[in-house]
Symmetry: C2
Subunit: 366 residues, 2 copies
Amino acid sequence: MAPVAPGGTIGILGGGQLGRMLAMAAAELGFKCHIYCPDTEVPAADVAAALTRAPYEDAAALAAFADGVDVVTYEFENVPAETARILAEHAPVRPGPQALATAQDRLTEKNFLAAQGIATAPFADVASAADLDAALAQIGTPAILKTRRLGYDGKGQAKIGRAEEAAAAWDAIGRMPAILEGFVPFEREISVVVARGIDGETAAYDPVENIHKDHILDRTYAPAALDAALADAARAIAARIVSALDYVGVMGVEMFLLPAGATPRLVVNEIAPRVHNSGHWTMDACAVSQFEQHIRAICGWPLGHPDRHADAVMTNLIGDAAGQWAVLAAEPGAKLHLYGKAQARAGRKMGHVNRLFPLGTRPPVT
Amino acid sequence: MAPVAPGGTIGILGGGQLGRMLAMAAAELGFKCHIYCPDTEVPAADVAAALTRAPYEDAAALAAFADGVDVVTYEFENVPAETARILAEHAPVRPGPQALATAQDRLTEKNFLAAQGIATAPFADVASAADLDAALAQIGTPAILKTRRLGYDGKGQAKIGRAEEAAAAWDAIGRMPAILEGFVPFEREISVVVARGIDGETAAYDPVENIHKDHILDRTYAPAALDAALADAARAIAARIVSALDYVGVMGVEMFLLPAGATPRLVVNEIAPRVHNSGHWTMDACAVSQFEQHIRAICGWPLGHPDRHADAVMTNLIGDAAGQWAVLAAEPGAKLHLYGKAQARAGRKMGHVNRLFPLGTRPPVT
């Protein structure tokens, strides 16, 4: 398949910060971007050549949009299957439908990983209150009940500390199709941002360690403090996942690291078929950021080298934290990224800051 | 004066690659950009929130544009004085009118530099053929006749090797108000990209060496191979210029380096009151690029540190050279920047590539 040449147009579903950073990376390579988004406020549109504001269910708008672009990608995994199907009749959609279908449904995702021989938390399908009782009997407590679809940043989840809490948890998630996940006694949360090109080539950035607050990513430490064998194993798991899905683009793979002595040490928590918050450090610490890497992949270009030229700590600016811009702007070595969002609501990702350190000198995780 | 806060809008006159890279740097800091440009093709508009396509003489369009932005800047020095005056009634224009007036006219510029005690080539005002003869008698040959206004990339210039060529040179530049510049027996051409903030703080990137082809910048080597005293002297000259002009923003200062033993060693060739092609290497080799630095300055933010984290060689992609994108995309460590221009005409700047090298290891100038 011929690559998309500079001057071509990339269609992006979703107009938030990920779409915005994808659009800027695409522009650096000479592409135009067309954003498709139903929202009133569309930060990505401020750096894109065109915007279609329409619902994801508007078949005519989708067709017109896809007819005008060379390739379609997306910034979020919950693209409706029918939306993807309509678009695919008019332009290549990358990553493809298999990746979307797999990542949109926690049960499908877990089954896919298990079929690849990749370790996950113990899990069971929960379609009813009776299923939940059976699943708890099998998996034990503590456990987490999660909706199969549309969960993110801790939404659609309920922790079950004791079996008696089952009914409340089932109510809390709205009695939706769900899975029960067993508790993984992890030591740290790490992730790997991996890319796969159209030719099957893969390239993974160094594994990083992630610290969450209130179920939202707060900080990423790059690289994670892992011995070389474990870091290689993490990269290999990520590469195996994108290869098995015949994936094209960048994917975030979240993993649990278990304490020394556990077998296996690495358990995959979840995959995100898109650029990933835990890859934002690559914007300033790598020659090719995850955003450029994604654009390269979906356009059929060779992947960039994922080498780091610095250590980095990425801190999300959530809600009011973005009000600290003046302090951050004055901090030597702090690289500020703001998303152009008007309202700093609680829990809303407003920007991030990357702090760089010479290789091998990043501060310890706190 | 209060700084422009994130969410504010920056007006940019001119829609070429410099405006485009300014707009992307502004977006990274959470600003919106509004481009004002009369051209049909406006690469900067593809990464900006708004575009006004109107002539620079359209007072109503200028007023409406400036009313909607928090600060106005520009990507080129030939903004008409009347345009700047109209805009300044509605919004701060940075850099200010004094810098524009000085840099737009080679005679004013040379007189300004001389008044600051900064060495330039010998020069004389040429308003007529008779003036030219007198100037040649004073300055000698070889010399270069240059129009006072609107020259760039070698346009509006004629070399005079012998006095007999004076009439032809006068015709060649269209008998426009001009200056005659004496020949400077330089060893190398260097430049300094310097910034000055609203509070008077200055910050200069390392001096770089520039190689031109056909009067157009071809390559920039960062840093220039200079001993520390000479590098400091070059930075000091640049800082003196922006301070004397009460300048706000980034300026490119081109200099000739004379051979060892000459006094002075550094002679200023010309100044550009804007981001400068010889500063494009900062996009990948510095924490804060010249584009972000300019946005910081005009918005009243603290300047970023101009430290280099790598050596760099910047190569312009001119005309057909941009057709090499596939080769450049596959070259490890080559950072490709394309400007989204449709037509690769001869002499047209289509993009540039930055090649990075660990500090102290850049290849020699060839």
